[in-house]
Amino acid sequence: MTADHIIRNGAAIVTGAGSGLGRALAHKLANQGMHVALLGRREPSLIETARATPELLHPFVCDVADASAVTTTVAQITTDLGAPRLLINNAAIYPRRDILDIPTDAFMDSIAINLGGVVNATQAVLPHMIKDGIGRILNVATFADMSPLPMSSEYSVSKGAARIFTRALIADIGDRFPDIVVGDWMPGMLATQMGIEDGLAPDAAAGWGAALALMHDPALTGTTFEMDREILQGSGLKRKLKALLTLSRPQKPRIITPI
């Protein structure tokens, strides 16, 4: 069996699957025939997500900020659905409040979800993935850390840290387990609770995200995609110069075919 088969035949986990993008991603994966564990805090929303394909979509009430709850849930998923092979770290909150108004401890609570959730879920699935070294982790990311908007300190800091976590994770496992493919995906501005009104329909974005999550080329480790397109490292000029020096063609971004 190829790595692709192994991943498609294993269980997928989507965090924050009770609404918006998470729900759409879960639906896309189920459309591909995968069993998907839906993680979220609110059971009714998860049940609502599962209604589309109940035999493939499985609700697991779990707060990703709670490390031991995540570990227990992943163990349960492994028993019920088999070893997790695909993890989409999607759960996040976006509290919009001024730094003067954030209650004591609330800042770190947001970090616990947006960064802690990614760390917790990743740590919980890795022991299963390294048994034979095959897996896929896709982190839903944003540019929010590049120039933080007003009233977005919790979101921009925690999501920026999550992007650093992706790179740190790759520094630890990239060379040892090249078939555990790890990367970031930026869905773009979405018309969800967290997004903007005239944004993109989550279902359209999920077509790219789910397709990317099902791509298992070790060369994808460390890449960042924005919507359907790879964001290349360095400026265009730098890339052209390197191509000139190495007498090669400038790198072209990969494009995702949506599912």
Binding site: I130, K131, G133, D175, R176, P178, T246
Partner: protein
């Protein structure tokens, strides 16, 4: 937990789990002995696939990956440098990362060597080579130039079309290429783990063909992440091993000690502990090979896998009285990444290493090379190195943990290198070719000879059964024992000798 294992009654304690340690452990455990492996590095995860590289440079992260954690300090031709040698420190040792080339040396390498003497004959070794080839699932084809009985090798996998064409061209110009002897089983979805850890029961090394079968007997145990820091003696007996695990020191009193920490590591610990050195030869006669890398352009372009490591030839093994070595596929392509990697390795060890930006500037020659090389195959000639007492592992009390060597390229070696290059040029007369190294390139992955064996206690460290002349319960079974380095990779000889010593120990204990 550690003390539970240390206090058991082990028949043998093996320090190091590479080609030598892993192999003898399997022989002894299979023979019913209770065996404790002490390994400096970790067992690691079985699905790991990392290549042994130098861009991870913090000691902890290197140790975690099974790399030797600290750089080698080398004074070569009186120039000091520090770099990460391709040496492993984890279960399987360096062999976990090797390219699995298991070639036999030749009769004259042992029986009729102008520079050093073997206390045992090639004929004594032959059955142990047979045994090692079986144990390591060696595949390949016999060397058509050899007059020895054909070794029983497994059939090699189908030859890549470009290699097939190149072998045909070699034969047409009177050379005698054959399928390289390889300890890779080529199981389904084989990753061809040359230079990296193999995640499958496929590449046969000190771990997969040694430690793992030893553990399967139920008679062996591995104490990993455990560094031996001292050995104590009382007269002719090694009385105590001190090891350090997670910052805590432990002691154990061994019945028998089998040292297999590699030619650098074993000599280091013996010098540090002042053991087995009445001859003053511990650490001396250090040998490497000289790698003579060259690109060879097939006359006819046949598309195929440039990175295969399938061809070996011994037409240049020696010419009259001048000893060279085998020529074999390098197992790397003439691609940009590979060439850049080698250029940078060369630069690290050269005087240019202090020039700012030099590592980036290496991109330019690498790019030029890759354009020029195109469809070339990269081959390497392994030039035999001779042991000289002044080439040695040294122990520096100011840096008790660091491996340190002194090495001078003998004028004789430089002359042989020139002759080898000339012989390569002549042998491939009709082909376009280019040497890829300007300076002599020592192969730091092939250290050997630092505890040579021999019959006389004055001129050798080990006796013919690889027991220390000075002690009654200390044996060494890594590449340290070798008085000559041959013109082939040392691994098969390390394994064959470990099997030989293992059977000797079992027999001795029975009588």
């Amino acid at each position: 937990m550690t003390t539970d294992y240390l206090n058991q009654d082990w028949d043998a304690v093996i320090i190091g789990t590479g080609m030598g340690g892993g192999t003898i452990g399997r022989v002894l455990a299979t023979g019913g002995w209770r065996v404790l492996f002490i390994e400096k590095g970790p067992s690691g995860h079985r699905s790991e696939r990392q290549a042994l590289h130098s861009h991870v440079f913090t000691p902890d992260a290197r140790a975690l990956r099974g790399f030797w954690p600290t750089p080698l300090r080398a004074k070569i031709d009186n120039r000091e440098s520090e770099f990460f040698a391709p040496i492993g420190a984890g279960v399987g040792g360096s062999s976990a990362f090797y390219a699995a080339t298991l070639e036999r040396p030749e009769r004259h390498d042992m029986d009729d060597h102008p520079h050093a003497e073997w206390p045992i004959s090639f004929d004594t070794m032959q059955p142990w080579y047979d045994e090692a080839e079986k144990m390591f699932h060696v595949c390949g084809a016999p060397d058509p130039l050899s007059a020895e009985p054909m070794p029983e090798l497994l059939p090699p996998p189908a030859l890549d079309p470009s290699d097939d064409a190149l072998m045909g061209e070699m034969r047409a110009i009177g050379l005698h290429p054959y399928r390289l002897h390889s300890a890779i089983r080529y199981v389904e979805n084989c990753h061809d783990c040359l230079g990296s850890k193999c995640p499958k029961p496929c590449k046969m090394d000190g771990r997969s063909a040694g430690v793992e079968p030893a553990l399967a007997t139920g008679n062996a145990f591995v104490l990993d992440d455990a560094e031996v820091v001292d050995l104590k003696r009382d007269g002719r007996t090694i009385t105590e091993i001190t090891l350090c695990r997670s910052g805590v020191e432990y002691r154990l009193s061994p019945k028998r000690v089998i040292l297999a920490g590699g030619a650098l590591g074993s000599a280091h610990i013996l010098l540090k502990s002042d053991i087995a050195n009445s001859s003053g030869l511990v650490g001396r006669n250090l040998m490497f090979h000289l790698n003579e890398m060259f690109a060879l352009w097939p006359k006819k372009k046949v598309l195929g896998d440039a990175t295969s490591k399938a061809i070996s030839l011994r037409d240049l093994y020696h010419q009259d009285a001048t000893r060279f070595g085998t020529v074999q596929s390098m197992g790397i392509g003439a691609g940009y990444g590979e060439i850049l990697h080698y250029l940078r390795l060369m630069l690290t060890r050269s005087a240019l290493s202090r020039v700012p930006l030099i590592m980036d500037l290496a991109r330019i020659p690498a790019a030029v090379a890759v354009k020029m090389l195109g469809s070339a195959k990269v081959l390497v000639g392994l030039l035999e190195d001779y042991g000289y007492p002044e080439n040695r592992v040294i122990f520096d009390p100011a840096r008790p943990e660091q491996l340190s060597i002194e090495y001078v390229l003998a004028p004789e070696l430089k002359a042989r290198r020139r002759a080898f290059r000339k012989a390569i040029r002549r042998a491939f007369r009709g082909h376009r070719k280019m040497f890829l190294s300007m300076q002599p390139e020592l192969n730091f992955g092939h250290p050997c000879g630092t505890l040579r064996f021999g019959t006389e206690a004055e001129t050798s460290v080990l006796d013919p059964n690889c027991k220390a002349h000075d002690h009654d319960n200390l044996w060494v079974v890594d590449s340290s024992f070798m008085p000559t380095s041959f013109g082939v990779n040392p691994s098969l000889t390390i394994a064959a000798n470990a099997i030989r010593v293992g059977h000797h120990l079992l027999k001795e204990a029975r009588s």
